[in-house]
Symmetry: C2
Subunit: 190 residues, 2 copies
């Protein structure tokens, strides 16, 4: 998606350690108009799937997921992040490793809000190794819900997440796919 790629090129910075800093529009300061355009594009791609629910992870996936769900007229379910969790009967949990924070989190969702048979679109701001997304898929499997696809704002295509998800038979749709990046700049998959 040219709109997002242009914003990454004009405002993004690559920090040491492979961190792409685009928090000026995506997850610290939020450009609501841009996020609306991203949500519209993802919803158009998955329009045949008619999901019952959009599932994401707090905190940085929320704004993007809300904008996707708006176009489907469905609700968003936000997996909570806990560093440790007392596993209660009424929640589904799965572990995910955060690339940015270099730590493992437990993702938690109330069973009450995720029913067997639901069609669920999984949405997140970043896809790197796919750890968070795989954890969300594990939660869907525990609930007997069906993933209808994966919608991503920015994919780091060199970190293996897409291959992992595609090998599970999933449609991965990313609005910007970064082939390579370093302090001199960002290159997209063509």
């Amino acid at each position: 998606m040219k709109l997002l790629e242009d914003r990454i090129l004009s405002e993004g910075k690559v920090l040491p350690g492979g961190v792409l800093k685009i928090d000026g529009f995506l997850n610290h300061r939020l450009d609501v108009e841009l996020l609306d355009s991203l949500g519209k594009d993802v919803a158009a791609h998955f329009s045949n799937q008619k999901p019952d629910l959009v599932l994401t992870v707090e905190a940085s996936g929320i704004a993007f997921a809300v904008m996707v769900a708006k176009y489907f007229g469905c609700r968003v379910l936000v997996a909570k992040k806990h560093r440790s969790v007392n596993i209660a009967d009424d929640v589904y949990t799965a572990k995910a490793f955060s690339f940015t924070h270099k730590r493992e989190n437990t993702l938690v969702v109330s069973k009450e809000y995720l029913q067997a048979g639901m069609k669920v679109l999984v949405v997140d701001d970043f896809l790197a190794s796919g750890s968070a997304t795989v954890a969300l898929l594990s939660i869907l499997e525990q609930a007997g819900a069906t993933p209808v696809g994966i919608g991503i704002a920015v994919e780091k295509s060199f970190q293996g997440g897409r291959e992992k998800l595609e090998s599970m038979g999933l449609d991965v749709y990313s609005l910007a796919r970064i082939a390579d990046m370093d302090e001199t700049g960002v290159k997209f998959v063509r």
Copy 2:
């Protein structure tokens, strides 16, 4: 706002310890259509203020803040929560005590995204003792930015937050004001 009060009455549960559980539409599962109506109402109330920015706290304030900002055509700045923080030169920080989680967090905002002279609307899903809101106001003061008002979804009017903020001369606008609540139900301020 009757729409929100009715949802609290029909779906809310009061848990022991004074916690109002309305996470089925406000902050775990998100009713996007309802949040849009809440955002529109808050924006209408502050329409004369024309804020440059909406400021909130991760994670549960984000969806509501995005919907408010959409009606102003402005951006959202999301204060990050850290349990501890190495205070760097390029951020503003302030401490807040979380009523729900019974712990102190440090709220963090990049200086880059908050300039002196900006008119900022502070938005959050809950107002109780006002600790998080006061921390956000401290960040605005550090930046030399001006708060133009406080927009809240659900106010627990018996916990003192409103009085604290009004004594600072601020316009506090809450969509639902809870006068009292216990296991038998919720009563609103009339």
